[in-house]
Structures are given as structure tokens and as C-alpha cells.
């Protein structure tokens, strides 16, 4: 029953987020700040993880090809498919749930604990619009992060395959180009937009409606990570059924 109440509260919150907008000049500054904090500050970890996971995917694929009838280009093909379809949009989003999700929850939760949200409300400012809307807009740039993750994942796979001696560069590149379906990219970017919305709103909800003190801020951050991850996984399943099956 508690979960149903929370789901209802979440959708009511979304309604409030899009009402009574903040002054345009202030909103512009807030969006730029959020782009820096949520997107630009996440690039380092995304670059690092994408490169190495792409490498590991290609090595694992190469090591599991024992049959001489299977061509070497399969390494590039499997790396591309894994990275574009699942690793970049879903795996990176789970990592972002930990990074930006807990950041959003703890920053909004701290504002709740120290009455900063009450201060906004007393001034007649729609605190949900002020705090959450800029995050949603900033995370519209999230597919750009996923695009970088895709490129670096495949690039990491190429480096690991060629310099690890598992296959030739030509075979890997041929595999990457082989049987490419452009809709898979569209599917991946549609997922990225949905995950971006989840990443902006679920942690905000957990932070905004938390009660208690500093300890509860920590608990809310953990809960935000868990719930954001769970919802991303469920959304991934539903989108895959709707778009690919």
C-alpha cells in the first residue's frame, strides 16, 4: 500500500514541477548550472567505464569463439551490438543512478532538512519547479553522454582486440559495420531519454519528500539509487518489448 501511495505522490509531484514556472532569466542560469553538475561532471566516469567495459566485452567475445567456422568479424559485431543496445544506455544509466541520483537526492534532501525548501515556499516560489525542472531540462543532454559512451565502448573494444592480438583491425571494423540496423540507434536514444527523465525525477522525489535529519538524507540517497535502478530496469524491459519484439 505504501508503494502505491508513493507512486501517486510521485505523479502529483510531476504535476507540480510543470506548474507556476520560475522567472525565465533565473531558470536559464539554473539550467546551465545543472548541465555542468549533472552532464559535464559525469563525463569523466562515463569515459573511463565505457572504454574499459567495451574492451572487456570484445575480449570476452574473442575468448569464447573456439569454432573456426565463426568468423573473426563477430568480435566487432558483438561488441557493437552489446554496447549500442544495452551497455551504453542501460549500464551507464545504472551507474548514473548512483552518481547523479544520489547527488540530486542528497542536495535536495539537505535543503529540506535545513528549511531551504520552506524558505523558497514562503517567498511564493514553486520549489518543485525551481529545483526539479532545471534538472529535467539539463538531462535532455543525457543522450549526448550515451553517444560518447557508445563511441568509446566500441573504440575500447577495437583497442583491446587489435592490441591484445585477438583479431585484426580490418576484421573488427568489418564486424562493427556488418548488418548495422539504424533503428537500433534510435531505440537506444529513445531509452536514453526515458532513463534521463527517470534519473532527474525519482531521486528528486526521494529528496524532496524526505523527513528527518542528516542520517535520513543518507538513507534517502541509498533508496533513490535502488529505486532509480529498479525503475530503469523495468522501463528497459518495457521499451525493449514495445520497440524491438
Amino acid at each position: 500500500m505504501k508503494h502505491f501511495t508513493e507512486i501517486g505522490a510521485y505523479f502529483l509531484m510531476l504535476g507540480q514541477v510543470f506548474k507556476r514556472p520560475t522567472k525565465r532569466s533565473v531558470l536559464k542560469e539554473l539550467i546551465l548550472k545543472e548541465v555542468e553538475e549533472l552532464i559535464l561532471n559525469s563525463l569523466g566516469i562515463v569515459v573511463f567505464i565505457s572504454f574499459f567495459v567495451g574492451g572487456v566485452v570484445s575480449i570476452q567475445t574473442a575468448l569464447n569463439i573456439n569454432n573456426p567456422l565463426i568468423p573473426d568479424l563477430l568480435v566487432g559485431f558483438a561488441t557493437r551490438q552489446s554496447v549500442i543496445l544495452e551497455f551504453a544506455p542501460t549500464f551507464i544509466s545504472i551507474i548514473m543512478a548512483g552518481k547523479i541520483g544520489s547527488f540530486i537526492t542528497s542536495s535536495i534532501g539537505s535543503m529540506r532538512v535545513t528549511e531551504q525548501i520552506d524558505a523558497l515556499e514562503v517567498m511564493g516560489i514553486n520549489s518543485l519547479n525551481y529545483l526539479v525542472f532545471p534538472k529535467i531540462i539539463a538531462l535532455l543532454f543525457y543522450p549526448f553522454v550515451i553517444g560518447i559512451a557508445m563511441f568509446l565502448g566500441i573504440f575500447g573494444g577495437w583497442i583491446a582486440t587489435v592490441y591484445g592480438g585477438f583479431s585484426s583491425s580490418a576484421a573488427f571494423i568489418e564486424g562493427v559495420q556488418s548488418k548495422f540496423i539504424p533503428f537500433h540507434l534510435i531505440y537506444a536514444f529513445i531509452k536514453s531519454f526515458v532513463f534521463a527523465f527517470i534519473l532527474a525525477t525519482v531521486p528528486s522525489f526521494k529528496g524532496y519528500y524526505m523527513t528527518g535529519g542528516a542520517l535520513e538524507v543518507g538513507k534517502a540517497s541509498t533508496a533513490a539509487f535502488v529505486w532509480t535502478s529498479v525503475i530503469i530496469i523495468i522501463a528497459n524491459y518495457v521499451i525493449t518489448i514495445l520497440l524491438l519484439s
Binding site: R20, T22, K23, S25, V26, S110, M111, T114, E115, Q116, D118, A119, E121, V122, M123, G124, I125
Partner: protein, 253 residues
């Protein structure tokens, strides 16, 4: 002026405010006093519209808050300044940005005009050379002064203070009390202060509402509180060792 008529508020089955009726006058420092758990904070949050009362009316300049539409409420809230117990300054902003915040949100002033207003109000609260500091870099007393500056920068008609001198040393607390009283008289605003500090009561208690178990148990001012006809008020007043000692000295004379 703010009038309150038969206000009731409960959480679950627990009544917090019971048939509270009173009035807060303009140009005076109105104090809400009472021991912890008496309903002071809930009362203040009802007045501010942060809690919705179960029944009763709150009238701002004779207009019921519950009957105001969203635009009227927004307009009213822009006339309210609030000093929170912990200051509630925005951590990510400097002192200057904090004080400038209401101007940035609700006025069309240029950057230069805003900086001028901010400097003026910061010097009014005796806080110079702290513009570029963050709240975490200044003392509790300075944070309170920044909070007061932020509350008054947009020329409010109503000023609310929730325990403005809690956690401050007696000297700084007195400075804050005097500052609030000066601002109230200078700007002719309705000031409501939530406190259980007897020094504040003595210093700036022009109108006092004593809450007990969510009810108005007594009303008066700093001159009449020592002769209150309610035993609960007397017990509250003389709950500090200092006042007990003074009473003993007076009785022995």
C-alpha cells in the same frame, strides 16, 4: 495586521492547535511564546501557509488567506520576510547572492541596482565585508543577520522570525532582538517572533501570546507578564534560574 480566528490543526488524532484566536498588530514586535511542544512552530507555519489549518481563519489585512487565489497568495508571499531558526540560507550561494535572491526573483532591477540594495541592507544589519563569503564560512550570528537582511531586502509588510536567537550567545542575541525591533518600527511592518527566550520577551515583547497545549493561555506584553494571573505563565517566566534568583531577591527586600 494579521488576525487569527478559531484556528484548529491536528496531525492524525493529536490536536496541535485548539481554537486559537488572536491578533498581531502592525508596527509592533509580536511574540509567540510557550514551552517546547506547545504548538508555536505549527502556529507559525499555519500563518505562513506552509500548513493548511483544519478549521478557522487567518486574515491578512482583513482578507482571509484561505479565500485567496494563487495569484493573491503569490503576491502576499512576496510581502512576507521570514527568518528561519537555522537561517535557511542557500548553501550554494554567497552572502550577497542569498540577500539578492528575492530581488532577482521578484523585481526587474538591474545588477547594479540589486548590488546597491544588498549593500544597503547588509550595512543595515551591521554586516560589511562578508558579501563574497559562503554561509559555511561565517558564524551563526552572522548567518542570522544575513537571514534578516534577506527577509527585509524586498521591503516586506510582514516579518516572521522562528526563534531568531537560538544558539546565539546572550550579547549577540540581544543585538539580533534590537535589530528586529528597530526594523519593525522603521519599516512599520507586522513582526511575529516565535521564541521561548525570556530575554527576548523582556527586551522586545510589545505584544505577547502565550501558547499552552495548542491554546492561547494568556495575552499581554513585557510589562504585564510578571503580574500575569495565570499560574502557567508565571511558571514559564520563572523557569530560568536567573529569573528565580531575581524573584527571590525581590521578595527578600
Amino acid at each position: 495586521m494579521i488576525k487569527v480566528n478559531h484556528l484548529n490543526k491536528q496531525f492524525g488524532d493529536t490536536p496541535i492547535l485548539r481554537d486559537v484566536s488572536t491578533a498581531f498588530e502592525r508596527g509592533k514586535t509580536n511574540l509567540i511564546i510557550g514551552s517546547s511542544g506547545s504548538g508555536k512552530t505549527v502556529f507559525l507555519k499555519c500563518l505562513l501557509g506552509l500548513y493548511r489549518p483544519d478549521s478557522g481563519q487567518i486574515l491578512y489585512s482583513d482578507k482571509p488567506f484561505s479565500k485567496m487565489d494563487n495569484n493573491e497568495r503569490k503576491e502576499l508571499r512576496q510581502k512576507i520576510g521570514m527568518v528561519f531558526q537555522g537561517g535557511a540560507l542557500f548553501d550554494s550561494m554567497t552572502v550577497e547572492e542569498n540577500v539578492m535572491f528575492p530581488l532577482r526573483m521578484f523585481t526587474d532591477q538591474t545588477e547594479q541596482e540589486m548590488i546597491h540594495s544588498v549593500n544597503e541592507v547588509l550595512s543595515r544589519v551591521n554586516l560589511n565585508n562578508a558579501n563574497k563569503k559562503f554561509p559555511s564560512e561565517i558564524s551563526g550570528g552572522m548567518q542570522k543577520r544575513v537571514a534578516i537582511a534577506r527577509a527585509i531586502v524586498n521591503n516586506p509588510r510582514y516579518l516572521f522570525c522562528d526563534e531568531p536567537n537560538s544558539g546565539l550567545d546572550p550579547k549577540t542575541a540581544m543585538v539580533i532582538d534590537n535589530l528586529i525591533q528597530e526594523i519593525t518600527q522603521e519599516y512599520d511592518i507586522t513582526t511575529i517572533i516565535n521564541t521561548h527566550d525570556m530575554n527576548s520577551v523582556m527586551e522586545i515583547g510589545q505584544n505577547i501570546v502565550f501558547l499552552q497545549y495548542g491554546k492561547v493561555a494568556w495575552e499581554g506584553n513585557a510589562n504585564t507578564i510578571f503580574n500575569a494571573d495565570k499560574q502557567e505563565v508565571i511558571d514559564f517566566v520563572y523557569s530560568s534560574n536567573l529569573f528565580k534568583k531575581i524573584r527571590e531577591i525581590q521578595r527578600s527586600k
